[in-house]
């Protein structure tokens, strides 16, 4: 075995998720036997619970365009896309030397970190609610009513 290129390209979580989905992986553990291996199923289950599960390529392109002005490293941009930090505290460990590179000047009203967080919140869709949150606001679906009347 010979390694020709150890790093032939980085993939976002979304790309790996789409690749596994195209191969036939589903959340149902019995459904994906035969099409994908059990280890691939585990990776799929992990990715489905990350913000990548309802991202689109369009949203990612839009986000990359918007954060060009902050001059972030490619690895940092990918990390933000994979993690979708929703506030300044969560974005701080991703960007190295955050205080020096992104200016925060309250006197002049510039807060680049907050601008970056706002871009994340606007462009990248939020992850789906966790199961225990969904149970609390369970509502009757509106389409059920016309069926019952007939």
């Amino acid at each position: 075995m010979k390694t020709l290129q150890a790093n032939a390209g980085v993939l976002t979580n979304l790309e790996v998720l789409e690749f596994l989905r195209a191969r036939g992986a589903t959340s149902d553990p019995m459904g994906c036997l035969g099409a994908v291996a059990p280890s691939e199923c585990k990776v799929f289950d992990y990715l489905v619970n990350t913000p990548a599960c309802n991202q689109t390529r369009g949203a990612i392109d839009e986000f990359l365009k918007r954060c060009e002005k902050f001059k972030l490293a490619k690895a940092e941009k990918f990390n933000i896309i994979n993690l979708r930090p929703s506030n300044q505290a969560l974005i701080d460990p991703i960007i190295e030397y955050c205080e020096k590179r992104l200016t925060k000047d309250e006197a002049r009203g510039i807060d680049e970190v907050q601008e970056l967080v706002d871009s994340v919140l606007e462009v990248l869709p939020p992850p789906p609610a966790k199961p225990d949150e969904e149970m609390q606001d369970l509502e009757e679906p509106p389409t059920a009513k016309p069926m019952e009347e007939n």
């Binding site: 390209g9 993939l11 790996v16 280890s39 993690l83 969560l90 701080d92 460990p93």
Partner: protein
């Protein structure tokens, strides 16, 4: 977290696969060899991304199988040092925390990389002593951690009967710093 690696391998194709289309047979053989295995310094192989070239098909003397030289790309799980990942807290003991990503379990956060002023509670749960109060690191919580090192220990020649199973790839993480640690500490 994930990247592609371009690999070239001389693959002997076992005779029981000779009735299958070549591409399928080679893909199955590659999956058998590489899937869910750790390649040293390349990471954990998640999946075969694509097959670039297949050459050869020679039968060497004394062999029942044909050997192909295959160039292909693998999806590898190999986080870079400094990446922030999100895992679940699986276990905690006197040496620190053990985190898991579902498909990868060997993530350790040793004691010196826990937040400043952490102590071990009576029930084996680590607690962060913060000004606003004590914050316990309960099990099954989502934790953001930074990757500090990835170790690929060599296969041991001898092992005790009751030693923990050998892990070919280990990630050392840290939760020392703003925004790291339990997600519930920092989320809105």
């Amino acid at each position: 977290m994930f990247c592609l690696s371009l690999i070239e391998h001389n693959l002997p194709l076992p005779p029981h696969l000779l009735n299958r289309p070549l591409l399928d047979a080679i893909k199955e053989e590659l999956e058998r060899l590489f899937l869910d295995k750790v390649l040293s310094n390349l990471g954990l192989c998640i999946s075969i991304y694509d097959i670039r070239t297949i050459e050869g098909g020679f039968v060497f003397p004394g062999d029942g199988s044909s050997t192909y030289k295959v160039v292909f790309r693998l999806i590898m799980f190999r986080p870079y040092v400094g990446e922030i990942l999100c895992g679940k807290l699986k276990a905690s003991d006197a040496n620190g925390l053990h985190l898991s990503l579902g498909f990868f379990d060997d993530i350790k956060v040793p004691v010196h990389l826990l937040p400043h002023k952490s102590r071990m509670g009576d029930d084996g749960i680590w607690i962060w002593e913060h000004e606003c109060g004590d914050l316990p690191m309960d099990l099954d919580e989502e934790v953001h951690f930074r990757v500090t090192k990835i170790n690929y220990p060599p296969i041991p020649l001898e092992q005790d009967a009751n030693a923990s199973p050998f892990s070919p790839m280990e990630i050392i993480g840290e939760i020392y710093g703003d925004g790291l640690g339990l997600l519930s500490w920092w989320a809105d």
